[in-house]
Amino acid sequence: MIEITGLSHRVLEIPELRIPSGRVAVIGPNGGGKTTLLRLLAGIDLPVSGEILIDGLAPRSREVGWVGEQPEREIIFHRVSDEISSALRFRHDPCPLVDERVKAVAGELGIGRLLGRETRDLSAGEKAMVALGAALAARPDILILDETDSNLDQESAGAVEGLLRIASCSHVLIATQRMELAARSDHILFLERGRVLHSGSPAAAFEALTGTPFFPPSRGCR
């Protein structure tokens, strides 16, 4: 369980919020506070006031995997295999285990063919998959994807979604503008102007969002 109490930070004002474990879709308009909230949950930023606990611990004491909207700004190594193995090497895991883990993650993501490639030669979507591989390689407790899917086609987004189902993260938070993907999550947070307007099951959240552009396109007759 993620527990937020008395949070005030930049645009965000969240007096009280409980987010269950599982796959959580964070949706809402640009500028609504999605990235700000995710950065706090990742421990990248500390709140000006208020408290965030993830299963009773501060975000910075958890293993967090993060992939942003523009992975090319986060990729630091020239070779794909080096990028995916970076977190494991930084913590000095034995090389044979690192190699094994990198191949396994790349295989699960369907990007094994990219391992020997230069990261700069990849398409935007391929870079997103490599950044996801780098985030998953360290087996994070919490995985955060901040609109990473904006550079993925539906097949790649579907592959990522399938992988998230089998990933052993207790919390997966995904900011997305794909409402079909959000509808398949366990829980939805809808943020607008820094406030949580809806927090609940996809069915409840989308009932409240009927008639808005945030309603999934395949649902309901007019």
Binding site: G28, E69, E147, N151, F214, P217, S218, C221
Partner: protein, 232 residues
């Protein structure tokens, strides 16, 4: 007004794409998976990349522009208002269309990625172009802005508009659909006949086709209407 591709072979690194076909006046959608060569083809159509072999001919086309996926590559003004002025436009209506009214004097670098995207697209759509090429125009936009720009793109009647995207939830009203399949550009023809020929349609269109509905066009509204008609 036409763009004619005659066995144009495009190469970037180890990747190769072959393209043939004619883009005439109207709104065209070019789809294909990530890494299939959409951006390479967009660059070639804009004249930025030369084909390795074959030809890309343009007839009756004077003005043309290309919207890149990342808006920061376009911005030259120091403020949103300055950016609009740099396109030879009056800032106020452009800023209003981009949802940035009252922010024309801010440092443009303080704008979010989505705000920059709205600004650049609004500047481009405020002008007439014989050939307008948009590479992933929906990236960085939220659902409400995707819908707003979709409506505006679908309303374009003059010139050739070519939209390259892997967007799968909010699409504009288009005249023709193209698909990149196994390294080759394939014309699926005019809408609505092209829709059932689409090998990798967005999930909401696939679901409608599976339900026996043939939408008049590919916007979520058109598809929802078709599904509802089928259900009676």
């Amino acid at each position: 007004m036409r763009v004619i591709l005659d066995d144009a072979i495009l190469r970037r690194g180890s990747f190769q794409l072959t393209a043939s076909g004619t883009f005439s006046e109207g709104v065209h959608l070019v789809t294909g998976p990530v890494g299939s060569g959409k951006s390479t083809l967009a660059l070639a159509l804009a004249g930025v990349l030369r084909p390795l072999a074959g030809q890309i001919g343009k007839e009756g086309i004077g003005s043309r522009t290309l919207a890149l996926p990342f808006p920061e590559y376009h911005v030259t003004g120091e403020t949103p208002g300055g950016e609009a002025a740099s396109w030879g436009l009056l800032p106020a209506p452009v800023l209003e269309a981009a949802g940035l009214s009252g922010r024309g004097g801010e440092d443009v670098l303080r704008c979010s990625q989505g705000e920059l995207k709205r600004l650049v697209l609004s500047c481009m759509l405020a002008r007439e172009w014989d050939l307008l090429i948009l590479d992933e125009p929906y990236s960085s936009l939220d659902c409400a802005w995707k819908e707003a720009f979709s409506r505006r793109l679908g309303e374009r009647r003059k010139g050739i508009t070519i939209i390259f995207t892997h967007e799968d939830e909010v699409l504009p009203r288009v005249d023709e659909i193209w698909e990149i399949q196994a390294g080759r550009l394939v014309s699926l023809g005019r809408v609505p006949e092209a829709i059932p020929r689409w090998s990798r349609p967005p999930a909401y269109i696939r679901a409608a086709l599976d339900a026996g509905a043939l939408p008049e066009n590919i916007t979520p509204g058109d598809v929802r209407d078709a599904v509802c008609r089928t259900r009676g």
